[in-house]
Amino acid sequence: MARFARWLKLAVLLGVAAVSAAPLQQASAEVNLPGLENHKGTKCVDDEDYIRRHHPDLLRHHRTEVVHQGIRTQKYSLEGCVECHASKKTGSVASAKDDFCVACHNYVGVQLTCWDCHASKPGKSDVVPSEAARTSPMMTSVQSEGHSQ
């Protein structure tokens, strides 16, 4: 028991040391982040950090509005995501391990079931990327440089 406590203390100390010593950039350089392909638009429909964290909530909220109330706004439309993020190689967001959705979801180990029912490829749909997505000159590092954070 005492030995275990000692180990635990050591582990905690090492952990604290690692966190405080390593600068963030160095840490991310060591981690093999998922590579994300360039996509059609130049800017996401919202701030990218916000989308990265909140896209499940946004999509869930939007789906309820679409299905139950027929509110078909395009900003958080899943079809819009597919339209923009479909891979040039596979034409899909989820058919190969490097495709947009799968790459990240595999990385974080979160199972993805959207594509059991939803089309992962853009179709004849008339969804167009939002005005901001098409015209803004802003481009973030993740989308422009792929592998880097």
Partner: protein, 250 residues
């Protein structure tokens, strides 16, 4: 007296304010009007479906041709159905041939979800997946459907299908998947864009014009006028479901 001197000017200010506001409101209204004209029954994309509208369909069986299957084909194409008619295949619309054995009268008619005002499928759904939208379209929310199939048993029209096997290459506008019950949606994805359901469009294209789709609540709509003018019947009217799909000539 001093109040009187102050009041007129205050009134004037108020008038000016009202005039300006009215002017601004007028300006604001102009793009609003354009927006209304461009979308489904005056409904912008960000507004929910309204209970002021009741979508319905009137099918004239005297115009429905016995050899024609165009409505079924159009439905399959629009919604990404396989078109197979096996016991485990999804059929959202079927052509039905009926014959009165007493007098020999025969009819052909398309049969699909009747979009009841009091839908039994909604009554029995244990999860709330089966629901009626405000504008009368009966739908399944596949995110909530657990595939129990109570609704299939409850439906007197055999309108619903169950997806037994994993699906691939779905149509983007019509997500479908294994383990869920599904049925005719009146092509809700088209209706929300102010378009006709695919079957109606195909029937018109084949120059049969046997199907009429529109708002039953709007007295000026073609369907409301037709329902008012001609005798039309509900299938299994005895159940008191007040179906949105009505038949003429049977």
């Amino acid at each position: 007296m001093s109040e009187h001197q102050i009041n007129p000017s205050a009134d004037q200010d108020r008038r000016d304010f009202l005039k300006t506001s009215a002017g601004l409101a007028g300006l604001a209204l102009a793009p609003g009007v354009l927006l209304y004209g461009a979308t489904a029954y005056g409904r912008p994309a960000d507004e929910p479906a309204s209970s002021k509208v009741r979508w319905g369909m009137l099918i004239d069986t005297t115009k429905c041709s016995s050899g024609c299957n165009d409505c079924v084909t159009a439905c399959n194409t629009e919604n990404g159905l396989s078109g197979k008619t096996g016991p485990q295949d999804s059929q959202w619309i079927r052509k039905v041939h009926i014959k009165n054995l007493q007098n020999g009268v025969e009819h052909d008619l398309p049969m699909m979800c009747q979009h009841c005002e009091n839908p039994p499928c909604v009554d029995v759904c244990p999860t709330g997946a089966s629901f009626k939208r405000a504008d009368g379209i009966v739908l399944v929310d596949r995110h909530i459907c657990i595939g129990c199939r109570y609704c299939m048993m409850a439906c007197p029209y055999k309108a619903r299908s169950f997806v037994h096997e994993p699906l691939h290459d779905q149509v983007p506008d019509v997500p479908r998947g294994k383990g869920c019950v599904e049925a005719c949606t009146f092509c809700v994805q088209r209706v929300d864009k102010d378009e006709q359901p695919a079957c109606v469009e195909a029937c018109d294209k084949a120059q049969h014009g046997a199907m009429l789709f529109g708002d039953l609540n709007d007295p000026s709509s073609a369907i409301a006028k037709a329902v008012k003018t001609y005798t039309s019947t509900e299938v299994r009217a005895d159940l008191g479901l007040n179906t949105g799909v009505r038949y003429q000539g049977i």
